[in-house]
Subunit: 90 residues, 2 copies
């Protein structure tokens, strides 16, 4: 699955979160990616906010309820999202 | 498809847009709704921004490129989204 732009995961404060933007050249590729992230959410119980249009999606992984910690589960989720984009060879 | 909360379409300015929030009691219902809105986008060529988590989605329909007009196609799209939620009897 080839992304055409966006930016890697970045940590942001207030509220503490990880953000990533992914751009695609067509809607079909975007939807395929969204379905895979949704499956990851159902598997892990972590539900990032996904904000998408036709060829972009912004992913936001908020810290836990206490809003203080971005833990191992967030980093693992972020890595697995990256793996989705790296394609089968990863 | 029963929503459990949110708010109807509202017009907002700067930039001119229509916004609607829909809440569901479970992720499966939310995803089913997202798939139907995506199909509506592919049919009409109108791609609202959809921002969703586990049980909510915020839909934003921006005015045309000129940013000045919310036309008939936006109103029709908004109505068809409402029809998705009103269920088969509608």
């Amino acid at each position: 699955m080839t992304e055409t732009g966006g930016h890697p995961w970045r940590e942001r404060a207030r509220p503490l979160r990880l953000e990533r933007r992914v751009e695609f050249d067509e809607y079909e590729a975007l939807r395929e990616f969204l379905d895979k992230v949704a499956a990851l959410s159902e598997e892990t119980g972590l539900y990032p906010n996904l904000s998408f249009g036709r060829t972009y999606v912004n992913l936001t992984l908020f810290a836990d309820e206490d809003g203080e910690t971005l833990g191992r589960e967030h980093e693992d989720f972020a890595q697995r999202v990256d793996d989705l984009l790296a394609g089968p060879a990863a």
